[in-house]
């Protein structure tokens, strides 16, 4: 059976001032129906570009997808789908929640108006039906007083409330997948908890799969079953959350976990891993992207390691990882 979301060898680049910026390089990952999958990596590692590609949100005039790249969403080929088909996928098969709830809502329309626009875009329901559905959904995301809330404008709501409105909007048309791009990064701790709690409930009760993008190992630990670690536009490690926390393979993941002594305590940013990512403008180096920051780097790291499957099903892209790693000779 194919997964709900299957990303194969996704490469995304942008034309920036005459040079090609390689934001995502050869990333493959899958999300099955009802799964909670995490993507973690420091700022600039390509998480958001990967996420936006799933709904092909980037400006087609500036964005290039690699020749072998494919994204299959509920059996549809996202990267080659005509615009009309793509529009039907968006919001209905998969929807997205963004980082900053202060900017995610249009200041000129009421909450009810904006939610209603989404329903009208996808469903032939009557006005009364749509209204009922909106009220029910706002209640489901723990927003009290929905009759009053629908008439409010975004600036009258707190950040946490707005983000829950965004969650309600995201699940309004019962999508199979919600892509959450750092949905809690801009919120205070209490609001973070409530958003994660609501997303977790929607996942359990309605079987909505969640692709949780974050730079916070704490969020991964609390929310996800599986996790993909991105670095420098590439996937460097992927597997179950339990496995990664118990025995991280990639030196970058090791660094991340060292920087997060208590996974339950949220971490603000992943600066704790020393150094910075190499630039991905122009031609990308053929060496391992982590080479400059890696304590284990040796000669073999001059060629980029492919993502390998370890005997227990865990995946890692490092010459030095795993029981019989070539780097450990």
């Amino acid at each position: 059976m194919t997964a709900l979301l299957q990303i194969d060898d996704l490469s995304v680049s942008f034309r920036v001032g005459g040079a090609e910026l390689h934001a995502v390089i050869d990333v493959s990952l899958a999300v099955r129906a009802g799964e909670r999958v995490g993507v973690i990596g420091e700022s600039g590692s390509g998480k958001s570009v990967m996420a936006r590609s799933i709904l092909r949100l980037d400006d087609p005039r500036r964005t290039r997808y690699g020749a072998g790249s494919a994204i299959s969403l509920d059996g549809q080929q996202v990267l080659t789908l005509p615009d009309a088909g793509l529009r039907r996928l968006r919001g209905q098969t998969a929807s997205m929640i963004f980082q900053n709830p202060m900017h995610s809502l249009n200041p000129a329309f009421t909450i009810g108006n904006q939610l209603d626009a989404v329903l009208r875009a996808h469903r032939p329901d009557s006005r009364a039906e749509r209204h009922r559905r909106i009220l029910a959904m706002l209640t489901d995301v723990d927003l009290p007083g929905p009759e009053d809330l629908v008439n409010r404008y975004p600036h009258e709501l707190s950040g946490g409330q707005r983000q829950r409105v965004m969650v309600a909007q995201a699940v309004l048309c019962e999508p199979a997948l919600v892509i959450a791009d750092e949905p809690t990064s801009a919120l205070d701790v209490t609001a973070q908890d409530s958003v994660l709690e609501v997303l977790g409930r929607l996942n359990r009760d309605r079987g909505i799969a969640v692709l949780m993008i974050t730079h916070d190992m704490g969020v991964v630990a609390r929310f996800c079953e599986k996790v993909n670690v991105m670095y420098g536009g590439r996937l460097v490690e992927s597997g179950s959350v339990d496995r990664i926390f118990a025995a991280p393979e990639h030196p970058y993941t090791v660094g991340l976990l060292d920087a997060t002594p208590n996974p339950a305590a949220p971490l603000k940013d992943l600066v704790a891993v020393q150094g910075t990512q190499a630039t991905r403008r122009g031609t990308v180096s053929s060496a391992c992207a982590f080479i400059d920051r890696c304590p284990l780097a040796t000669e073999v790291c001059g060629t980029a390691p492919p993502l390998r499957r370890l005997p227990d099903g865990h995946h890692v892209a490092c010459h030095h990882a795993g029981p019989d790693s070539p780097g450990r000779a």
């Binding site: 709904l55 949100l57 529009r87 039907r88 996928l89 968006r90 919001g91 209905q92 929807s95 997205m96 963004f98 900053n100 900017h103 995610s104 809502l105 249009n106 200041p107 000129a108 329309f109 009421t110 626009a117 989404v118 875009a121 996808h122 404008y153 600036h155 009258e156 965004m166 909007q169 995201a170 048309c173």
Partner: protein, 315 residues
């Protein structure tokens, strides 16, 4: 308190404006009585007639006295009587104002949707050929002098093709078809200038709006391109456009004066120009006063409207 302050300010502005007009009119060479009598005014035997006329219109009194009488009459709402037609000025304004109001209302009504369409389409594809074309057209529309464009349109469509009458006006209720025929070219002339200036404004606003996160959110939720551009985004640029119309109303009336002259529309602009030509003091003073009052009121109205439809400004 603020309301009282506002009213005092409006009165002050009106007083300054009428005073400036009063003074400049009297400093301008040209004797209204002589102009009224015509070319024979200089003849010896007309001296008596001139004196009669001056006395009839109070022009024989000293200027400060004239000013006092003028303000006194104003205070009772009396704008005086035309030196030329003997008609009460307020009545002449009452006849001319609807023409100007129609011209402005129809031009703005035509220009606003056209500008939203053009400005939005350009902003959607910044840096494209479409963007460049639309913005060039907008600049050309602003740069074309209205009187020249008016004459050009007159030449083509009125004199040449004879699709439209070349001059005059017909009230809407008297003859709707004739009204439309008389208004088409003047409205087009004024609207073209407005489309140029509004399109540039909508472009800037929309380019900014389309960069916003909530536009990406709308696309991610599957809203159609049309509803994103012309519903979701347009409200954000339409709202400040109300303020622009309010602020530009002075420019608009200036444009209307030119257009009325070119197309022989008997509106406030023509009334004012004819009054200036014949040194018809009461007509000029009265018309300027009413126009100033209209500009002030429209500014207040547009600000009030803006507050009404902008949720953040209401707080």
């Amino acid at each position: 308190m603020t309301r009282l302050y506002g009213a005092v300010r409006v009165l002050l502005i009106l007083w300054v404006v009428v005073t400036v007009v009063f003074v400049t009119l009297r400093l301008t060479p040209g004797d209204p009585a002589e102009l009224l009598l015509g070319p024979t005014a200089g003849r010896q035997d007309n001296a008596e007639r001139l004196a009669e006329i001056r006395a009839a219109y109070g022009l024989d009194k000293s200027i400060p006295v004239q000013y006092g009488i003028f303000l006194g009459n104003l205070a009772t709402g009396d704008l005086g009587v035309s030196n030329r037609s003997q008609r009460p000025v307020i009545e002449m304004i009452g006849t001319a104002a609807p023409v100007t109001i129609w011209l402005i209302v129809l031009s703005v009504t035509a220009a606003v949707p056209a500008s939203i369409l053009l400005g939005t389409l350009a902003a959607e594809r910044r840096g494209s050929g479409r963007d460049a074309t639309i913005r060039t057209v907008a600049t050309v529309f602003i740069a074309i002098p209205s009187f020249w464009l008016g004459l050009l349109l007159l030449n083509w469509f009125a004199s040449g093709l004879r699709w439209f009458p070349s001059r005059g006006f017909e009230p809407l209720l008297a003859d709707p078809l004739a009204f439309a025929a008389h208004m088409t070219l003047p409205v087009l002339t004024l609207a073209i200038f407005l489309i140029g200036s509004f399109t540039r404004f909508v472009y800037t606003e929309t380019a900014d709006t389309l960069e916003r996160d909530y536009i990406t959110v709308g696309r991610a939720m599957g809203l159609s391109r049309r509803s994103i551009l012309f519903r979701f985004s347009a409200k954000n640029s339409l709202t400040p456009l109300i303020i622009v119309v309010g602020v530009e109303i002075g420019t608009l009336i200036g444009g209307a004066v030119i257009v009325e002259e070119v197309f022989g529309l008997p509106g406030l602009g023509r009334l004012l120009l004819a009054g200036v030509m014949s040194r018809d003091y009461p007509v000029v003073q009265g018309t300027v006063l009413i126009i100033t009052l209209a500009v002030i009121l429209i500014n207040i109205l547009s600000e009030w409207l803006y507050r009404l439809i902008t949720p953040q400004a209401r707080a």
